[in-house]
């Protein structure tokens, strides 16, 4: 180990990784906030997000490893960039606008790409990112490019993309976007969904980095 190595410059802003060098398990939530979500749906989704934060915070290892990011669509907005559950402040969502799903996916994938680059630059190991999209409608913009990016990402194991349809969501459209079979939420069981999501992320964050983790059956989904 030569002296030159010790004079290496350190980029500023890497403090979060010095503070917590645990491997990261990023999870991006793509949430539909279009007009049709307004009312009971968005209320339940908000409760679900709060539950999510609490459930993650109760798992001391997940607390250091899972990172949550939130992008909403209708219009497409970044609400939270990736951060560990202790810093994650669940946003309060309201429904208004259309369903620009394609733009949301494109933006979200870019966020995931940048986050992975930050992990690599700082020597932080990471698990395959999860992207979790929840919608009650059908895309109102062009989603074909997004679907192609998802196919590519799933094939190269760049991330796992899950789509969840709420009530009258267009499941056929979702099936064309997502490689994995989209799941339909049973009723408005957002809280069950997020409890499941946090415990699944917990098991992933305890696993080996390249391992496939057997997931609990999603009790919140309707066949």
């Amino acid at each position: 180990m030569g002296g030159a190595g010790d004079l290496e410059q350190i980029p500023f802003g890497s403090s979060e990784f010095a503070d917590n060098p645990e491997p990261r398990c990023p999870c991006l939530l793509l949430l539909d906030t279009s007009e049709s979500m307004a009312g009971a749906r968005i209320d339940e989704l908000n409760h679900g997000l709060a539950t999510f934060q609490r459930a993650l915070a109760a798992d001391s290892l997940a607390m250091k490893r899972v990172e949550v990011g939130v992008v909403t669509f209708g219009p497409v907005q970044l609400l939270n960039d990736f951060q560990t559950p202790d810093h994650f402040r669940p946003p309060l969502l309201s429904g208004a606008g259309d369903t620009p799903m394609g733009a949301a996916i494109a933006g979200g994938l870019e966020m995931v790409r940048q986050r992975k680059a930050a992990y690599k630059a700082n020597g932080i190991p990471y698990f395959r990112p999860w992207i979790f999209m929840i919608t009650d409608g059908a895309p109102t913009d062009d989603w074909r490019a997004a679907a192609a990016m998802i196919r590519e990402g799933e094939m190269t194991k760049g991330f796992s993309f899950f789509a969840v349809g709420v009530e009258d969501a267009d499941m056929d459209a979702l099936a064309q976007i997502s490689v994995r079979m989209p799941l339909r939420l049973s009723g408005l069981r957002f809280r069950d969904l997020f409890v499941w999501l946090s415990s699944s992320l917990g098991s992933v964050s305890r696993s080996g980095m390249g391992q496939e983790v057997p997931l609990l059956p999603p009790g919140w989904a309707r066949a």
Partner: protein, 653 residues
Amino acid sequence: MSPQDPPPFVVDDRGRVLRLARKLGQGGEGAVYELEDDTDIAAKIHHQPLTPLRAEKIRAMAAMQSESVAKLAAWPTGLLSLPSGAPIGLLMPKVTGHKDIHHLYSPKSRRAEFPGADWRFLIRVAANLSRAIATIHEASGVVADVNHSGVLVGQDARVRLIDCDSFQVSGQGKMYLCEVGVPTFTPPELQGLLFSEVARTPNHDNFGLAVLVFLTLFMGRHPYAGRYLGLGEMTIERAIGESRFAYGADSAAHQIERPPGAPSLGIVSPAVAGLFERAFARASRNDGRPTAREWAAALDGLEGQLRQCAFSPAHWHFNGLQGCPWCRMEAATGVGLFSTTVSSGAAAHFDIDGFWRRVEAIEHPGGAPILDLPEGKGKVRISPAVMAFRQQRQMHRLYALVLSALPLPIALFVSLPLPARGLFLLAAVGLYYVARTLVRAANDPAIFVAKAQQDTERLERIRTEWQNQAGPGRFDAKRAELDRLRAAWIAARERREQSQPAPESGGRAAALRRFLDTFAIEDQEVKGVSSARVPLLESFGIATAADVDADRLDSVPKLDRHLRDALIEWRLELERRFEAQAGPQPAPPDREVLEREARDAQLRIEAALRTGLQDLQEIQKQTLFARLSMKVRVEEAHRAYLQSAADLKAVSR
């Protein structure tokens, strides 16, 4: 019932029925519970019933308990079954007051879970862990699944090994394998193999031990997590398999660099560094990794070669280093690596300058980018609806013209009396007006007007939104708020400093010093001090009563003992006189209240600053993100606006 709900009660080997109480912890295979009637024992309950082999292994382990192992490991003491008879778990001693080792080695959780733990503590824990594993090895066991959640650490730095039922043990002529392993602690020669088919050796354990020791000494950094300079993904598993130790002497040859901000291998003594190199070397694959005993000895050695940093008492480092590696790392990252145990009530140190550097490091997003929106003059093709509308209107106009022209030939070419001619001409004019009104009524452009207006308004709205979200306004506002908070914090610090003078420079101690300074030895008749001694004392800086103290007097060579004692007695007498004059110690509450208020204000501002920093980071990212995601919308709205404007122009003609 979800698959993770525990059974209501379980049965032990002797048929006792045990009720499960609070859940203590959760692992991959199962969860650990307290028992309702026994506080010293815990029950580990698996999610799935155990295989017969696993049940037999637990019985065998219960039979081979030993005292030396029981002290450091939660060794299984009995098998547990469901009421149906299916084996489901085990009994073991309950470990209380201990925490997972990963809480200790990550700086973030260390501050909360192990306050006051410095590097000496970390080295001691690593040494104790080595001793625990050495004990298992000497009892012919193999831990096999060494990992970050199988080691618990107490506040006294002693460790306990848990999940012992996964150890590899031999009993009654049979070897029970360990079926699990955590890949980031698995040696290269076992990567990718099926654990249920491999007999592990202490040399395998010694790899996992080296990884844990490294994590503990190197602030939670994994030895194989570095910056990979080659192409493709470099997972830890792959790096282990390819012996790419990111801190090693030949890391460059392995195209891997230690992460920015991470300490170099040189922060440990050469002896310990040598053990790491050996543990992670390709050559040690089959044998030859440092044993747990070697680790214990080398770490004990390192503990004896430490020095406290001159600037920060919480920093202990290897005494062979020139500077303090922790100071350097803290300065570079702005992260406090070790918490100092501060006396109650004192506000933890808040490094405003370091904090402000982090604020300033957040790059200003700049103005919203100028969008390349085409002017569209002449380039916009009229929409088909407008084309159709115009064609139809042309036709209608033609019909109207023809219709209104009908009376003209009569007026012009038929010989009629003048008034009649005039009547026909008038009729033509009248018809023209009627037809024109009809044409206008049938070809109302109102929808195009409305559309144009709507698109103009939408563009206006989206442009405002763009300015708000993609422009620097929100960032600037938050940054200004942080500036104000910083000024407020500095003001609060000044208030605190004024309300609390340093003990040497002000207050009662200073008053005493001023009082004593008025008594020069020369002027006084101090019993036993002849004026001949005064110059000698003065040459050692002892001129007044304030200068008289035992240490200083002892530094004067050949000073008569009686003289020394007489001077000290004289000073004490003067101090008593001062006390009598000055009265009792002034009551401190006022100052304390002031001090507390100033401190609370400062703490509130610190909290606001921290949230503000986070908000600023978020706003910066949101702004950049909005530019990406909104651009298409603005462009689309602009296109729609141009279209409807062109359409409107076309129909107005």
